[in-house]
Symmetry: C2
Subunit: 132 residues, 2 copies
DNA sequence: ATAAAAATAGTAATCATTATCAAATAGGAA
DNA sequence: TTCCTATTTGATAATGATTACTATTTTTAT
């Protein structure tokens, strides 16, 4: 992964924003510093950087994906109306319901533990060397 | 919400399937019983039924939405490669990491508590009566 | 049986994202 | 420094999932 001014500035601006922007929201911000940048470049770099673990891709909002420059483990709440995402501050506790300390003013409707992984079939494919 | 044979059969077939199908996967199954059904009807009914709480819409897989006929609270794991979703059996425990009993053969990469709700702005809009 | 409201099939439109490709650039080798 | 080549970029086309539209059909209450 080479260092380009585009990638550098995309990462820099993403880290500044605390509101989990979509690719096109970030594009508008970056455009102010790099007026000739392409939306495809923003998409491409966000994808690459999230694959590299530099940033986090938030895919659970339904429509547009959102991106998070903060990579430390933390939880989110997302609005079923507008798709907006906010951080949730939690505290240790036995039940998932009890650990919310601050839901950023959201009215909490539901919670669910989301596990991510690789399914048995894809693990097999990976071992056979047919993956990506 | 009126009772139509389309809606009835969509729900029936969704409840039969345990693999969290996408709209088009379910469409193919339903088509066997109702050959003239439209894909738009499947989408429309899945949306309505999930809004009514009869079924559950799973939006966190990135690409296609998936649907779950089982509405009791339970957690899922999804494959970052193919998007497939499976149920995760959990047991009571203090930390999120410790509660996994069976991840359906998945290699677990990450977990996160996903909260759903309505954000302050949308709550205000709702109170002003401007929402749908 | 009838009428109004709601749902359907078929298809067009939309919207986010990805693919394509010629031109530009980064970064190492000479 | 200059040159080479793989990578990246910008611009735009293509894709794919979902939603919107509309004329027609169906449900259901009266």
């Amino acid at each position: 992964m080479r260092m380009t001014s585009q990638r550098e500035i995309i990462l820099e601006e993403l880290k500044k924003l605390k509101n989990h922007p979509t690719a096109d929201e970030l594009y508008l911000v970056v455009k102010k510093r790099l007026p000739r940048i392409s939306l495809a470049t923003v998409y491409r770099n966000l994808e690459q950087m999230s694959e590299a673990g530099i940033i986090k891709k938030l895919e659970y909002s339904g429509r547009q994906k959102r991106f998070d420059g903060a990579t430390h483990p933390h939880n989110h709440i997302h609005c079923i109306r507008c798709g907006r995402i906010a951080d949730v501050k939690t505290r240790p506790g036995n039940s998932v319901h009890s650990i919310i300390k601050d839901a950023a003013g959201f009215q909490v409707i539901d919670d669910q533990i989301e596990f991510t992984g690789i399914c048995p079939d894809c693990l097999t494919t990976e071992n056979m060397g047919n993956s990506h």
